[in-house]
Symmetry: C2
Subunit: 377 residues, 2 copies
């Protein structure tokens, strides 16, 4: 791992960042100038000013997305601030282009105030056809996404929530198929932050009933003292048996563990307490809740992680490029839960012959983005 970090710094220093702006029109003659800029541009400005909807035809809006972060939850590294977010945003921008043909521009915010973030994003929205929120910590991310969706006429998605949820559901669908289970599967998730909350919602929306979500205090259940906001909501929607206890208690007998929490939180003993041949998604990054070797030794049937150096990487790049490609192509007004479910099903079905070592498509497969795009409508 040491090496990949050093090499990454070298790569960034060599190029001075990872993306550039390029002209799509020629600028060689005086006529080129007069069409791309003054005086010709005056007609375009007047046209879109009279009918701003024509921005979708005459400007970059139709293919341009903002990737916006306040740096409050950068990867698994925590609150690194706006500077720390920039390399990640740039990375996403080039993945957007490569796998979705979407022009995405990185915006790092010098504020972590919820209202100020909402105000700022509304103020800079006109040129964008969509907004990918990124690496914003819970619970602020929920409120920011909710308000922006209510107030802006373009699709908005916090990728840490929905991108992750789509890929987790996709992987889980294939894992359960291989294990011979359906919606009756007993699922325990550890982590109720941005990703955990969105995963819970997509699983419940898909029809899984037996889901228990744990946070650092253990199982979240309806009536647990002190629950507010999105956790209060989650308590009402999940855990129909109102199970109480710590993760190690509630995990007994479960078919599936989904961890979006912290390194090392899952032990071999806990795995042995689960049902036979359990499915474990240990998604903490960069160090998972349990390492794959240890999980296998404890009897897991399928293990997935967030890492590229093990099989079954739960990688958002399978989702966000296609999701925004479809959102722009189909000019959707706003994302809806059923679109994310369809995206997950598409990803699952894209793997013709899933196996315990291959639940998901190859992230480098150029066909994935277009396939996902088709169902975002």
């Amino acid at each position: 791992m040491e090496n990949v970090y050093e090499k990454s710094i070298e790569l960034h220093a060599l190029h001075g960042g990872k993306l550039e702006i390029k002209s799509k029109v020629p600028l060689t003659t005086r006529e080129d100038l007069s069409l791309a800029y003054t005086p010709g541009i005056g007609a375009v400005s007047e046209a879109v000013s009279q009918d701003p909807d024509r921005l979708w035809e005459l400007s970059i809006k139709k293919n341009t997305v903002a990737i916006i972060s306040d740096g409050s939850a950068v990867l698994g590294l925590g609150n690194l601030g706006p500077a720390g977010a920039i390399p990640v945003l740039e990375g996403k921008a080039i993945l957007f282009k490569e796998f979705g043909g979407v022009d995405a521009f990185p915006i790092a915010l010098a504020t972590q105030d919820t209202d100020e973030i909402i105000r700022t994003i509304k103020a800079i929205a006109p040129v964008f056809g969509g907004i990918n929120l990124e690496d914003i910590s819970a619970p602020r991310c929920f409120e920011i996404e909710r308000q922006l969706r209510a107030e802006l006429p373009i699709p908005i998605m916090h990728d840490d929530q929905h991108g992750t949820a789509v890929v987790v559901l996709a992987a889980l669908l294939n894992a359960l198929k291989l294990r011979g289970l359906g919606k009756e599967a007993k699922i325990v998730m550890n982590g109720a932050g941005a990703a955990g909350t969105a995963i819970a919602h997509i699983l419940l929306g898909y029809g899984f009933k037996d889901l228990v979500v744990c946070d650092s205090q253990g199982a979240i259940y309806d009536g647990r003292p002190g629950l507010t906001g999105d956790k209060f909501e989650l308590a009402r929607m999940s855990n129909p048996g109102k199970v109480r206890g710590l993760l190690s208690d509630v995990l007994a007998g479960a078919h599936v563990f989904v961890g979006v929490s912290k390194a090392g939180l899952l032990t071999a003993d806990m795995i042995r307490s689960m049902s036979e041949r359990p499915i474990v998604f240990a998604l903490a990054n960069p160090v998972p809740e349990i390492m794959p070797d240890e999980a296998k030794a404890a009897g897991v049937f399928i293990i997935a992680t967030g890492r590229s150096d093990f099989p079954n990487q739960i990688n958002n790049v399978l989702a966000f490029p296609g999701i925004f490609r479809g959102a722009l192509d189909n000019r959707i007004g706003q994302f809806k839960p059923e679109m994310f479910v369809r995206a997950a099903e598409t990803l699952a079905n894209y793997v013709l012959d899933p196996s315990p070592e291959q639940l998901l498509p190859d992230p480098l497969d150029r066909g994935v983005g277009p396939a996902v795009a088709k169902v975002i409508c």
Copy 2:
């Protein structure tokens, strides 16, 4: 002209806007992904988070500028709002790249409130190495530029002011040389908005003393009732003889007329009242204060306009790409008036053999940007 407008709309519809984002790094193998994105990117994020100055080395900041407008003064078309600004901002972005090698991204603001604009720009600043303000109406543009320069650590320039001022001074230097005049030249300017105010400041800073600026009420002089803010300042700095009267009065005997006002405001009679062989810069766009043919018939020695279809186009593209190229390369903290003067002198000297029909370099000359960049330090 009709044709250029139709063709421009066609060009924009064909390409769906004028710019795209491209990756500068390869994304073909799993290793590429692990260096440009996770896990390698974690090291870059931590490095720039610990020392945000390293964004200049490891991110796009070193070559990236925001072009930001609220659409309140789009070209000569007035307050078209953010949508109307977008085609212009896109046009500038590709000129930035073509003539300065600068990656510039267009941001149109959905607010025209001065404080909100300042707050928004401060909030989105971290990824940018400089900010080009564009098409913001006076007097708000002065306050916005002033506050942002005071509060942000990157160079900020309202191009309608300083870009225009640089090119006007450059053209004037060559025009006066041809006419055999120096700093004693008597100059009358009509228009005290964004461009007029900046032109007045650069001329006064350069050493011209005999400058009278008119607004719609006539000459601005120290003591004129009702003057506030930047016009009050201008009154104190210019018009040493405290000349009063309308443009037609104060123009008598002047060597130079600079119009940044409205179509048709300069008549043949007014030109005939000027000194012999006067110099006329009629920069109202798209229709100048007087048409070149009429001006010549009235005896002007040199006429310049803002239009590409006549000689001596005062075109900001001669200035802004090189100014920001130099600002980024030389990592200046903030723009200073002497940098703009040096840029103007560089442009003037770039024309080896100036003539009444050629005061300025060819806007398509790729050598201009690098030459200007060298003196922005």
